[in-house]
Amino acid sequence: MTEPLLRAKNLVRDYPQPGSRTKRRVLHGIDLEVAKGECLGIIGESGSGKSTLARILMGLEAPDEGSVTFRGSDFFGPARRAIRPHIQAVFQDPYGSLDPRQRVGAIVGEPLIALGVGRAARQSRVAAALAEVSLPAEAAEKYPAMFSGGQRQRIAIARALVTRPALVIADEPVSALDVSVQAQVLNLLVDLRARLGLACVFISHDLAVVRHVAQRVLVLQAGRSVEQGETAAVLRNPANPFTRSLIDAVPKPVRS
């Protein structure tokens, strides 16, 4: 078998509890793999550890035990600076995750400054990233407040794409959006995977959304991975009662 793009092994994360010497374990040994160009959905209730897992995969916090490797090299080791540009993040709230006082061009170009890309090259790559998410080049001159929620989330995705990553970690990227806008962003994510071969870890509490974008799914319950597999197979025949309860919770506008 070829080496997957991202591999996490036995991830354990403990959080200290205020007023207590014991720690609370929020992740109990999670294993996962993401292949090149694949979208892995992570689904679970609030409090199941989804966001903690996302933060570890984004490199924002280190696990207490276990390891994450990207193309075989350790995520939290000496290679981390070289790995970073290949993994980017998209967050839930497009209102809170963009600096209101910076122009869109500066926001989208900022990751490139960290990589030492010169001004002229930055401008052309920002324009390319904006085009990728179907925003006009003039958008670079405007401020986030001048855009709608869906456009802002596309700006956040453009910022993630500008380093030409192999993998995007998206933590509830559409939960804060209206249905019409959610549809735009989902279409974009599906399209980017098809066109750029972008791999994705897509975290959501909404099974309908995960089912739409992810080929494989991991079901988290109380910090444990209770089921993992091809999305279609898991949904058709869930092995775990918790997965079944998630499937039953999906509302449908029209009952067949």
Binding site: E45, S46, V179, S180, Q182, N187, T231, L246, P251, R255
Partner: protein
């Protein structure tokens, strides 16, 4: 059966701008009506207008009648005796709506005390209400921060139920909750409504949730009614292109093929101050014709299904 709440030609004005324009609604006892639309269509404003909680200088005209009494004509003192007692509301964000430094039992009892119940009775009833909303294992002296989002939303519902309201307005009660909790809460609301014959107004942008619990639906667009009727009927065969657009953008559980391109509605909801002439949806509408810009279409149709569209979709 008489409608317990009758809204006729409700308008909300901000000086010259009509934020809400000509909303009609009739809610019977034990009935649940869903209010849907994108952000900025006036859903929350509608709820605030019904509750008499519009911040000045906003003003509501038209009529909102509760058992024949027009609430818009009531002085604030009289409205205070109705609000929270006969007309209750569950707000969007349970984290912000609960007082962080008061135990939940006290917060549930507070309204009953204000409306004249003794302390011991109020506390006993608060305990019963917490049991009823599924918090039997939570102590009344627990503080909100020790509860999960779903539990907090249940506390909010217990507070709203405390005065046995005739009508409960739930404004985007589910947005902050995960799917499983959402499903539980919507089931709880439907049960309570059947049990106490309380009328429910479910405000949501999630069509699936509305379909789950509301027998009728009102679709709002840019502060105006777009379509209304029995939920099943208008979701199965919408007549207004906007309703069709919302349905096209929604994932239909396991019925949507994975990865299918969803029909997003192009453009965005216009600001009420810059509503286009005629039908406000026309610039985003695939069926728009020149006459759509001539005048605001009235709600029209056969049976219970009304749509404000000159060129409605054909019904099967």
């Amino acid at each position: 059966m008489n409608g317990v709440l009758e809204v006729r030609d409700l308008r909300v004005n901000l000086r010259q701008t009509r934020l809400l324009d000509g909303i009609d609604l009739s809610l019977a006892r034990g009935e649940a009506i869903g209010i849907v639309g994108e952000s900025g269509c006036g859903k929350s404003l509608f709820a605030l207008a019904l509750m008499g909680l519009l911040p000045p200088p906003l003003r509501a005209t038209g009529s909102v009648c509760l058992d024949g009494q027009n609430l818009l004509a009531l002085p604030e003192g009289a409205m205070c005796r109705i609000r929270g007692k006969r007309l209750a509301m569950v707000f969007q964000e349970p984290m912000l709506a609960l007082n962080p430094v008061q135990p939940i039992g006290r917060q549930v009892a507070e309204g009953m005390r204000l409306h004249g119940l003794g302390r011991a009775d109020a506390e006993a009833k608060a305990r019963r209400l917490l049991n009823r909303v599924g918090l039997a294992r939570v102590r009344p002296d627990a503080y909100p921060h020790t509860l999960s989002g779903g539990q907090r939303q249940r506390v909010m519902i217990a507070i709203a139920l405390a005065s046995d309201p005739d009508i409960l307005i739930a404004d985007e009660f589910s947005t902050a909750l995960d799917m499983v909790t959402q499903a539980q809460i919507i089931r709880l609301l439907a049960e309570l409504s059947a049990e106490t014959q309380m009328g429910l107004l479910l405000i949501s942008h999630d069509l699936g949730l509305v379909a789950e619990a509301a027998s009728k639906t009102l679709v709002l667009y840019a502060g105006r009614p777009a379509e209304s009727g029995p939920t099943r009927q208008i979701f199965a065969a919408p007549r207004h292109p906007y309703t069709q657009g919302l349905l096209g953008a929604t994932l239909h559980g396991t019925d949507t093929p994975p990865g299918k391109v969803l029909a997003a509605i192009p453009g965005q909801v216009p600001d009420p101050a810059h509503r286009p002439e005629g039908c406000a949806f026309a610039p985003r509408c695939g069926r728009a014709a020149p006459d759509c810009c001539a005048g605001v279409p009235d709600m029209a149709g056969r049976n219970a299904n009304l749509a404000a569209c000159l060129h409605p979709l054909a019904q099967p």
